[in-house]
């Protein structure tokens, strides 16, 4: 059992080391600044070492005066230079501290929090659609925000700990040893003890903090779920059960929180106590030394002050050790996102003046290897024809769209446009051929005009208005208080679902692409808007090669080709009447809507 645990830690340690090396590599552009920060730290440490010594000598003067052993003419005159130097050293120390803080914030934080986020955003541009489809948005957001800010914050800590903490301890130790090796040894013996103790407690509390975060994540889900399903809970008189479920997780969280907070708070008192122990022993030994060996009071006072200074870097190191674990975990997640494979850049070109013939030749495709989806699909669509894709929900109608736009790559076979194989054509160029209206009406946060002009940002206001007029949305846009400059976003409620769809049609009209992909589902749209949408879509389709995910009978009836999908597979193809005559699945599908 123990052996197994050891083995695991060895593999983990190697991985940890790699993550740390990676962080160090990532920081390369700011090495210069980090060196500067370390230099400043050296000044700070020098000040920290000097100040107790100066203070000690000043206090020694006071003792001497009080004991009557003072040999100068004037105490104040003797104190003055020491006090001035001391004040200067203190001011320098604070000034340098400020400078270092300013530097670390502006360089390290900026680099790790801002630049890293921008890199992730850039990465998203090149991630395959497959990755984005399979990854919850929340996960990517969490990496971009929580993990990155954690990284930024703790890198700060680690740099601080490494440069200041260790350097400070080393210099303090050397100076103390030079001052009086016997007293210094006492402090130095206690140092590893308190580091060990605090690291132990930290790692213990870490475990409970993790547990606490996990439970609070669960609690969040419980609350989120019950608020999202509020009406259903009420409809089934389920409140009592919901409250009980909440209570259970809540109690677990409470327990973890109690332990985690307690252990977390223990670190400081324990360090204080070991310091107090060191303090006592220094006093006893120091007393003996003063009485029996004639060591000066100033030396003892200096060592006492040094010993006090020891606690700050010790706490810092203990803190650093405990955040290290979490930092590594965060860094690992961020790096894994940055290392995701990207869409391969393609450089091929399409011929100019595309007509819009589309051919699928022996196309195979599957989303995962185990369940083949499309097998040996052959379609031949001529310029200006209309292809309707029908089938029950979840049958994979959008797969065809995914393949045509190369959101996903086919496994084998060929897709040709005007006879040209598209497998090595630049994705941008290929996608530039298509206009798209999806069921999921996507509006980005910006003005209506910006949204309509999304496919052609350089379009003039007149062109935008013309497109909106053709798509029957000019009228309702004019009734909005800010007209075309009205701000909208995905969850805008001031315009209805149907109106959003009209806007996306206007967007496609303005973009004016050779080929079209339409998803005409219109749930939650009132009858009149639906008629407008239909008319606008007809206009849009005129003279273009269209792929329509069909929900309306009118589209199906006059389509040049109907693809019938079932469970992800194309089961029938043909024209409306041919398919009806077959009395197959299409026939069932079509007639069922009139069944009583």
């Amino acid at each position: 059992m123990k052996k197994k645990a050891e083995k695991k830690t060895r593999a983990q340690r190697r991985e940890d080391k790699q993550v740390i090396l990676r962080i160090i590599r990532e920081a390369r552009p700011i090495y210069g600044w980090l060196v500067l920060a370390s230099l400043i730290s050296c000044v700070i440490i020098t000040c920290a070492v000097m100040s107790p010594k100066i203070l000690g000598s000043c206090v020694q003067l006071l003792y001497d005066f009080w004991a009557g052993t003072f040999q100068g003419s004037s105490l104040t005159r003797a104190l003055l230079p020491g006090c001035c130097v001391l004040a200067a050293v203190y001011l320098l120390q604070s000034g340098m501290n400020y400078l270092k803080m300013y530097l670390l914030n502006n360089v390290v934080s900026r680099y790790f929090t801002c630049a890293l986020r921008i890199r992730i955003s850039d990465k998203i541009s090149r991630l395959p659609v497959r990755y984005i489809d399979n990854t919850p948005a929340g996960q990517i957001l969490e990496r971009m925000n929580d993990d990155v800010s954690h990284l930024g914050g703790s890198i700060h800590d680690i740099v601080d700990t490494l440069t200041v903490g260790f350097l400070q301890i080393i210099t303090l130790s050397v100076v103390m040893l030079l001052e009086d090796w016997r007293l210094a040894l006492i402090v130095l013996i206690f140092m590893p003890l308190s580091i060990w103790l605090s690291a132990r407690i930290s790692s213990l509390s870490e475990k409970h903090f993790d547990e606490m975060f996990e439970e609070s994540g669960k609690l969040y889900s419980v609350v989120e779920e019950s608020y999202a399903n509020y009406q259903t809970s009420k409809a089934y008189n389920f409140e009592a059960d919901t409250i009980r479920a909440h209570q259970e997780v809540n109690q677990r969280q409470q327990k973890a929180e109690t332990t985690a907070n307690f252990l977390g708070a223990m670190v400081r008192p324990c360090i204080t106590f070991t310091n107090a122990l060191a303090y006592i022993i220094i006093n006893v030994v120091g007393g003996v030394l003063i009485v029996n060996y004639g060591v000066s009071v100033g030396v003892v006072v200096t060592i006492v002050l040094f010993a006090k200074q020891f606690s700050a870097p010790l706490e810092q190191i203990a803190q650093g050790l405990s955040t290290m674990q979490r930092t590594k975990a965060a860094a690992k997640r961020v790096f894994s996102l940055l290392d995701e494979p990207e869409e391969q850049p393609l450089t091929g070109h399409l011929p100019e003046n595309i007509r819009g013939d589309v051919r699928f030749e022996h196309v195979d495709f599957s989303y995962n290897k185990e369940t083949p989806l499309i097998r040996d699909l052959n379609i031949d669509v001529k310029q200006g024809q209309k292809v309707a894709i029908v089938g029950p929900t979840g049958a994979g109608k959008t797969t065809i769209v995914n393949l045509l736009m190369r959101f996903y790559d086919i496994d084998s076979g060929k897709i040709r446009i005007d006879g040209q194989d598209i497998s090595d054509v630049s994705r941008d160029e290929l996608r530039g051929l298509f206009g798209m209206v999806l069921q999921d009406t996507w509006l980005f946060s910006g003005s209506i005009a910006d949204n309509v002009a999304y496919g052609r940002p350089e379009a003039s206001r007149e062109e935008i208005i013309k497109a909106c007029d053709e798509a029957y949305c000019h009228h309702f846009i004019r009734t909005l208080p800010q007209g075309y400059d009205t701000q909208v976003s995905e969850d805008t409620v001031s315009i209805s679902g149907g109106q959003k769809q009209l806007l996306t049609i206007a967007r496609a009209l303005l973009a004016d692409r050779r080929l079209l992909i339409l998803d005409e589902a219109t749930s939650n749209v009132d009858t009149r808007t639906e008629i407008l949408i239909q008319k606008a879509m007809d206009k849009l389709m005129r003279g273009k090669t269209c792929f329509v995910i069909a929900h309306r009978l009118s589209t199906i009836v006059d389509a040049d080709l109907i693809l019938v999908l079932r469970d992800g597979q194309i089961v029938e193809t043909g024209k409306h009447h041919e398919l009806l005559d077959k009395k197959g699945f299409y026939y069932q599908l079509y007639t069922s809507q009139y069944a009583i």
Partner: protein
């Protein structure tokens, strides 16, 4: 605010004890330098080793007492804080669960979510930090100052002069930071929104080749956010070097002034006394830093407490007693009107209709026609603004909403899926149902094939809000839930919209068998879902326009004709 303090009441004892222990430990910490100066003054200078040992023993005891009491104090306060926060979370959650729908929609469910989780979390974070340390601030201050005064009054006054200086600086910086945090929070939200939007709209973005544009938008928002965070951090970072510098200046001044007064013979303070005063400065400084943090954190906590208070202040409605009623399924609406709060027009107005036991009816109309509002009223989620709903001739206002809901099998528009097994999701309809009953309900809901295809069957785990399900599967699970409940009245609110025609037809057939003799109300936009019903109510702009069978309406009702033509392309059957 007052309501929140009420949650502290059960913990009063623990709170006081915890604070007492913390105070004891702080006093001990204050005593240490005093003992130290005793050792130096009396022990060292008189070469009295036994005195040194005695003092050290005293110091050891004090340190131990300090350690013991601080650990005890932290233990108690950790328990108190965790308990208080758990109670508060539970209280807020319970409150929301008994709120009226008006209040829920007024506050918004995402705001309520933030209040029940994030805000309580902020409060608990602040409470856990403050609970242990807040008491030490005055003790450190007062104790430090009193002890210092005992050593040398004039030198202590120098100390007292510096403290307000430090505080003034901290407060000023804190004021500066607040707007910076606000801005960075705002841009953080903005950046999140854009990323979310971008991930969601990935297809459209790629189709229009506009990834570079989206990237630029994120870059801009991120830069503004980072700029503000950095500025806030830099401002906050000033606090520590500044206050340390000020206190250190106090040290220098005290040493010099102490020397000066000694020389003039004004003061009887010894070198050890002055040394002790210097040591007290360190302690008082700890207090200052802690107080500074409290000052910076206070606005966070205040905002959170205010927002939680708003939830707790909402009054829960008084409801009639629950009864063991069993409805026959007779529903009568009498000039029923309802308007949402703040809306200029009624969502439904003057609706009168009668549905008899066992009747199968449909309500059809476009968006904004008021048909979903009708469901809200029937389920008792909302109360009519005017008019009445009668169940079996009894006014719904006099019946407990729980009793009404007990008598309705309802499938709401938004398919509600709970994380957990399929079994758990369906069994909500009737807790304690057997597997046979569950499977039978699933079969009627047309999910038999789906269940059979799953190796775990009913025990198949669903993720939160059914992300691993298609829209149709979600609707069918909700239908199975309602079928299992099998109450006298069935309501389907647009709950077939994600089903293909074939599945819907089969489902309708199976439902007709199961619900024979029960009242069934189908709210829909699809003519195909409505046409087989005994009676179809056509709604438009909140009013009941017409009622009749499919054939009758097709002949005389213009709105119904319009809907029919738009959905079927005019082809008649």
């Amino acid at each position: 605010m007052k309501k929140i303090f009420a949650y502290l009441k059960p913990y009063r004892g623990g709170l006081i004890l915890g604070m007492l222990l913390m105070a004891i430990s702080t006093v001990c910490e204050l005593l240490l330098p005093d003992i130290m100066s005793d050792i130096l003054n009396t022990g060292v200078y008189n070469a009295d080793l036994s005195y040194i040992f005695r003092c050290c023993a005293k110091m050891l005891v004090v340190a131990l007492v300090s350690l013991g009491s601080v650990l005890g104090g932290w233990y108690i306060s950790s328990r108190v804080v965790a308990g208080f926060c758990a109670d508060l979370r539970q209280g807020v959650f319970r409150k929301v669960n008994t709120m009226r729908f008006e209040d829920i929609s007024r506050m918004g469910s995402s705001a309520l979510l933030t209040r029940s989780t994030h805000d309580v979390g902020t409060l608990s974070w602040v409470a856990s930090i403050l609970s242990g340390s807040i008491i030490t601030i005055p003790v450190l201050f007062i104790g430090g100052v009193v002890l210092a005064l005992g050593k040398d009054a004039v030198l202590s006054l120098v100390l007292l002069l510096f403290i307000p200086l430090v505080f003034a600086a901290v407060v000023k910086i804190g004021k500066k930071i607040e707007p910076l945090w606000e801005t960075s929070d705002k841009y953080m939200d903005k950046q999140n929104d854009i990323v979310r939007e971008r991930l969601h709209g990935i297809r459209v973005i790629r189709a229009f080749n506009s990834e570079p544009r989206e990237h630029k938008r994120i870059e801009d928002a991120t830069q503004v956010m980072a700029e503000n965070i950095i500025r806030a951090n830099v401002s906050m970072g000033v606090i520590s070097p500044l206050s340390i510098a000020l206190m250190n200046m106090a040290v220098v001044l005290i040493v010099y002034l102490g020397g000066f007064r000694m020389e003039r013979g004004i003061s009887s303070a010894s070198g050890g006394d002055i040394f002790a005063v210097i040591q007290y400065i360190t302690l008082i400084m700890n207090g200052v830093v802690m107080a500074a943090f409290s000052i910076v954190m206070y606005p966070h906590a205040k905002v959170a407490a205010k927002r939680i208070g708003e939830v707790l202040d909402v009054e829960s409605p008084a409801e009639p007693e629950e009864e063991a009623l069993h409805f026959s399924g007779d529903i009568r609406l009498e000039s029923l009107s309802f308007g949402y709060e703040g809306a200029a027009e009624n969502a439904v107005s003057e609706i009168s209709l009668h549905i008899r036991p066992g009747q199968q009816v449909a309500v059809i109309g476009g968006t904004g026609s008021g048909k979903s509002t009708l469901v809200q009223l029937l389920m008792g989620f909302r109360r009519p603004s005017a008019g009445q709903i009668y169940f079996d001739g009894r006014d719904s206002v006099s019946i407990s909403p729980k009793t009404i809901r007990e008598n309705i099998s309802c499938v709401l528009q938004k398919a509600a899926i709970y994380s957990g097994s399929i079994r758990k999701n369906i069994a909500m309809g009737r807790p304690g149902a057997t597997d046979e009953e569950l499977l039978a309900a699933a079969e009627i809901a047309q999910m038999g094939d789906y269940l059979a295809s799953l190796p775990e069957g009913l025990d198949h785990e669903l993720t939160q809000s059914g992300k691993n399900l298609s829209g149709g599967q979600k609707q069918r699970i909700c239908i199975a839930r309602a079928v299992l409940k099998n109450a006298p009245i069935y309501i389907f609110d647009d709950s077939f919209s994600a089903l293909d025609f074939l599945t819907e037809a089969r489902l309708r057939k199976a439902l007709s068998e199961r619900t024979a003799g029960k009242t069934r109300i189908v709210i829909t936009q699809r003519v195909s879902s409505a046409m087989s019903c005994d009676c179809i109510f056509v709604m438009d702009k909140g009013r009941l326009v017409d009622a009749g069978s499919h054939q009758e309406l097709l002949e005389r009702c213009k709105i119904y004709q319009e809907i029919y033509v738009s959905q079927t392309g005019g082809e008649r059957r």
